[in-house]
Amino acid sequence: MNRFTRTAQRWVVFVAAVALWELVTQLAEASGAAMSFFFPPPSEIALTAKDLWFSSAFGKHIVPGVGRMLGGWALAGVIGVAFGILLGRSRHAMAYLGAVFNFLRSIPPPLLVPFFVAAVGTTNMQFPTIVFGAIWPVLLNTVDGARGVDATKVETARVFRLSRTQWTLGVVLPSALPKVFAGLRLSLSIALILMVISELVGSANGIGNQLVRAQRDYEPTAMWAWIVLLGVLGYLFNTVLLALERRALAWQPRHSLETQALATGG
């Protein structure tokens, strides 16, 4: 298959679904069905989206929201990888901490919003909520990956008397990297969810904030426009991360990368 047919294959159902949606909503609108107010045609959503996304809202709401999300996710990633490697290579750390981490991870991250609202206030709680929610998949996956360095590599490293830095950054980190990326992808979707949720509950700005405003103003088309934006952002970030992952893991035989992407849900 060439590039064109692959791209066509990937998008044909999507485009068809949007076209069908357009058709159905247009017909509903023409027939005067009551529900059609809540289900505007995609073309209308697209026009509204163009006005909303590229207006002053871009700097006032989209940039701060996305900034918090990416910043929180990046911080969670750095902390998660650093501690994950440390704990994964420690002989006893996870025996003590494993249960604690699994408990903390099991708390549905959105439930942290009320806590952080109470603890640091509505204007400041988005960032810590995202960091705290997004850290667990990276941390636990990195621990798993760091632990998984096989015995032969451990012995090889000892025989060649690798320095501590060489061992950590040159052997453990690359060994763990496939799992690290799996964790980062999970964390990214959690970060996106937490960004919106935390902004829905209370925030001076952000995409969630605008979504709630559109709801209060009874503007379903604007709501849809913000919802679509979240979908676009999620898709975009995941695509970029996948591309980064492919580059970073280029040393892996191709097929194993794809099965991994499937196994972790892309």
Partner: protein, 257 residues
């Protein structure tokens, strides 16, 4: 001069369900420039022996000395080629980078020069930019050998190095090893369960008993430095020696010579 001296070496693993003595009372030496093969039945403790010599395991009894210095931890001038080349190589590094990886203390030019030289010695001069998984098993083991050579160890330990490749490749790698040690005068201790291989490669063969392994016999191999897979294996000396080793392995501890 003795490069390696093994004196009363014994090791007992202690586990929850009792202890297991893998090797016991081993005494032998390896001279500089020698290639000594250790042959023994599967599971007899050959790997334990190799790991105590490498300083990866601290033995329960006895001592290992390299250049007359007691081994305590992994010595600087020792390298190991493991059986499992695919795990021993670093898959995220290119072939050249794999060979250079243990040489971080050297300058960049020196590292590169050593890698080029070692890869040429194992016949992989053109494969430096490839990743290990792009190479066949035999070629991957060549990379592992090149990495060990570039490290310039005074003692090269090999743990069943050719046990995971097909018969044809195995012959090629055996001849490669013989050529390298002729050219570079490397001291090698090679552990194998393959009787023919031990006789074909070794200047001497150490025959181990079943676990706990003790040295059953030291056999000199009078086949000369240049050997070939067809002629040597058909020679009378070879056939006689392999029969002797086989007899020793089957018969258990009987004294020969």
């Amino acid at each position: 001069m003795n490069m390696l001296e093994v004196d009363g070496l014994g090791h007992t693993y202690k586990g929850k369900d009792g202890s297991h003595t893998a090797i016991d009372g081993l005494d032998f030496t390896v001279g500089a420039g020698e290639l000594v093969c250790v042959v023994g039945p599967s599971g007899c403790g050959k790997s334990t022996l190799l790991r105590t010599i490498a300083g990866l395991i601290r033995p329960s009894r006895g001592t290992v000395s390299l250049h007359g210095t007691k081994v305590d931890g992994v010595p600087r001038d020792l390298a190991v080629v493991f059986q499992d080349y695919s795990r021993s190589l670093f898959p995220w590094l290119s072939v050249t980078r794999n060979v250079e990886f243990p040489l971080r203390s050297l300058s960049r030019t020196e590292r590169e020069a050593r890698a080029v030289e070692a890869l040429a010695a194992v016949g992989l001069a053109a494969a430096g930019k490839k990743y290990p998984w792009q190479l066949s098993g035999g070629m991957q083991q060549r990379v592992a050998i090149a990495r060990a050579l570039a490290y310039r160890p005074s003692l090269l330990l090999m743990d069943e190095p050719f046990a995971s490749v097909d018969a044809q490749t195995r012959f090629e790698l055996e001849d490669l090893l013989l050529r390298i040690r002729r050219e570079q005068d490397t001291t090698v201790l090679l552990v194998t369960h393959d009787i023919d291989e031990s006789v074909y490669l070794g200047d001497r063969v150490l025959v181990l008993s079943k676990s706990p392994a003790t040295v059953v016999a030291h056999l000199d191999v009078p086949l000369g430095p240049v050997r070939d897979q067809i002629g040597t294996r058909a020679s009378e000396d070879f056939v006689e020696l392999r029969a002797k080793v086989a007899g020793l392995l089957q018969g258990g501890p009987v004294s020969v010579r």
